[in-house]
């Protein structure tokens, strides 16, 4: 065999990259096979869910055309329907939820990972995880019967004093000078639904943050302390920069979860099919609540429209969750820590 001319050949041995081959023995092969098929199944199921939604929703999307994303009304039987109102309603609820969940879970995570006494720590971790295990219907009932009457004065206060300057807090039809104005104008609002959803997403957000905080390297922590930093100084200079990815990622995962939250929103909100950016005012909507409300009584075409709405939610949630997991994964490698 004639050696190729562009290689230096010494004693008939080429210095080109040698091929590495590893012998895979049976346990390894089996494990690899299981892991691979598990991963494949997850991806396949996900793709199939998306495909299913696309196929079932195609009829409605085709019928509505581009109006599907700009139309606010939802009346598939008369052919006038679109996701503009419900989709933005979902986003408003999710943003309200994140506004409350972010500081709450950040503080919880920081306390548990840095300040809590060692003996208390496992108990606190379990409690927070247990919060995530409470069924959402329980949160919903709690929000409907307990929280919503109690939150009305706060909503009223915000609408009275902050509403005039801050448009999202303005409430049309609320006159602070009318002593007989009914507080029901503040009930069943995006704000209340958002607070309840915040309590539901806070556990997952805070456990992700806590895990990342706990991974802040001991050496750098001790280094900061040795240089004379106080505990808070150490946290701001080591733990938080190191956990920045976890904070962002956990928040985004929480956002993804709050976009899909169904029963609590369904119980609390008074559905309206119009873009409602005044979060304190009664009425709002979300895609998942709409599906829960209409699915049981829908005609075939209406179901197709609901599937199309579900597809939109699925895609957005997927994008947010992928973004979140990428950020979390990168932060765990330590590359983000400075």
């Amino acid at each position: 065999m004639e050696p190729r001319t562009d290689r230096i050949v010494i004693d008939g041995v080429s210095d080109g990259p040698r091929t590495l081959s590893s012998v895979v023995d049976r346990p390894d092969a089996v494990f690899r096979w299981i892991a691979r098929s598990g991963g494949t199944i997850v991806v396949t199921v996900m793709t199939l869910v998306g495909l299913f939604l696309l196929i079932r929703g195609f009829e409605a999307i085709q019928f509505a055309g581009p109006a599907f994303v700009i139309e606010q009304a939802w009346d598939p039987n008369s052919g006038k329907f679109g996701i503009a109102a419900v989709f933005l309603g979902t986003v408003f609820i999710a943003l309200t939820a994140i506004f409350f969940a972010l500081p709450l879970s950040f503080g919880t995570a920081l306390y548990i990972s840095e300040y809590a006494p060692q003996r208390l720590k496992p108990f606190l971790i379990t409690t927070v995880d247990l919060m995530a295990a409470i069924p959402s219907i329980v949160y919903g009932l709690w929000g409907f019967f307990f929280l919503s009457p109690l939150i009305l004065p706060l909503s009223q206060w915000l609408a009275t004093y902050i509403g005039p300057w801050f448009p999202p807090f303005a409430v049309a039809g609320f006159d602070p000078n009318d002593p007989l104005a009914t507080p029901t104008i503040f009930s069943a609002s995006t704000f209340i639904a958002g607070i309840v959803v915040a309590l539901m997403v806070a556990p997952i957000t805070s456990s992700i943050m806590r895990e990342v905080f706990q991974q802040a390297p001991l050496g750098e922590r001790e280094g900061a302390l040795a240089l004379g930093a106080t505990k808070w100084g150490m946290i701001t200079s080591v733990v938080i920069p190191y956990g920045r990815g976890g904070i962002i990622g956990g928040t985004m995962l929480g956002l993804g979860r709050s976009l899909g939250e169904t029963i609590a929103v369904f119980l609390i909100i008074s559905p309206v099919f119009v873009i409602q950016p005044q979060i304190l005012e009664k009425g709002g909507n979300s895609i998942s609540a709409l599906i829960a409300l209409r699915y049981n009584e829908a005609s075939a075409f209406e179901i197709s429209a609901l599937m199309a709405a579900g597809l939109a939610l699925f895609i957005v949630t997927l994008i947010i969750n992928f973004g979140a997991s990428t950020i979390v994964a990168r932060s765990r490698s330590g590359s983000v820590g400075d």
Binding site: A181, F273, G283, N296, S299
Partner: protein, 579 residues
Amino acid sequence: MTNPGMRGVRAAIALALVASVGLGPAVAQASPARAVGIVYQPIEGAGSTWSANALQQWVRNVFDNYRWKISYNDQGSSAGRQLFAQGTTDFGVSEIPYALANSDSPDPRPARQFAYIPIVAGGTAFMYNLVIGGQRVTNLRLSGETVAKIFTGVITKWNDPAIAADNPKLALPATTIVPVVRSDGSGTTAQLTAWMRAQHPAIWNAYCAKAGRSNCGITSNYPVIPGSAFLAQQGSNQVASTVAKNSSVGAITYVEASYAINARFPVAKLLNAAGFYTEPTASNVAVSLLSAVINNDPNSQEYLTANLSPVYNSKDPRVYPLSSYSYIIVPTAIEGNFTLDKGLTLADFVSYFLCEGQQQAEVLGYSPLPINLVQGGLEQAQLIPGGDPQNKNVSTCNNPTFSPDGTNKLANEAPQPQACDKKGPDQCLTGTGGASGTPTVGSGTTNLGTGGTGGGESGEDGDNSDGLGSVGDGETVGLGGGSKIVTGTPLTLDSRGIEPHVLVLMILATLVALSAVLLPPIIARRRAALALAAPVGSIPRAATQPRGSPYTRRPSMPKIHLPARFTKFGRATAPGEDS
């Protein structure tokens, strides 16, 4: 009543007989051999929330007494019809039949075979939460047109002249009316819109068009105009709870009377064609349904369904115009996952609620079914495959509406309305619905259960507009007989709003809170800087704090830990080496 165990045995014997016929050469006597289920298999149903209170009670009863497992999901009539049509559930419950005439949606009949059986009668009541001067109003009266205007957003304040005209003895406040409607597909909504469409078509059509509906037929999905005072909630239970919240003053909703009774809230008396304001009591509903036109053709697909429009205008002074009854939709063929065993459970359940169950209807806030509907229902129940209902005709049926001469006993004995319930300057003060307790002697402490609240004189309610509130000045007046009424005098209050001193106080409070957070670190920094800077004189602050740490300590005497015996603070009793 036969023991179900016995019936099980009977069914088993029947099966054994059938088996022997199949095996042996002997020819058993030819019977109209209907296959009968053997065991009571659990069944599932879904539908109406209007009749759910009665149905859930019966489901509990038959489980406690006979261990028949029936699960009922009150998801609304629309869902009930749809889930039954899909074959998901074994029975559906709905206030309106499939393919209702004049409906806004097609709602086609399902492919599976089915029959309607009446469940229970009742009145669609207007439950409200209205407070005058701290006292709950329990004797509100409304005319049909006022109700239609309230639920179409034409009347928006409780002190509207139309409402005042119906309630001469109430000094109504300028509170906003909050109509609470159903957000899910609901038979109650269908009943209400059918009534509005028949009685007040102009009002309904104007509203429906304003809400952007292309079809203004009878609808199960109440249209809501964005930005209006309307609240939409899901299920009868939730609309009733919304109205019953303390914060929901001014709210009114439409639910079956039982929900108001359970919530201990009053219902509005509705004006009938005879000029009387009536309540949806069991006997009034029974009287009203005498005028319903019931489809009596057993071959019709709509057998036993009713045309309620004659009820709306019935001239009997006891009529409650929004009386109706709801249906259970049962399969009449073995299709999908329906089995003979399920049929056994379903047929016996139907037979139970048409006879025994109706005894409880009045207590639960409904009205028992009259004899003709029970008769028809029992016939229909025999169409359920696999069923062998206990009561095959009304002779064994123990229903409170039956009388020997075949007329409706409950309707015969229904009391005539009080004179004060007649349209005019007088108004009854007794409570209604769930707030109708007997007037208690000498006890005026509870809002509910003691007589109603009366208002001031009709001439006294002045103009309550332009942001000035009118609230009643509660004052109890003893009446003959010990019952108490409350007279209200309108009282004008200054408006609250944002007053300058409140604003100043709020800003001050914010500043104090901010300074409590921000000042300590700033002061600490300055003191630290001063402590370091002082010995060196005019060296800039930055130079003294190379690390920029705010926590630089003032140098202090080092702490030296000496054995106790070297300090005067040592423990006197400490066992030292020198002792």
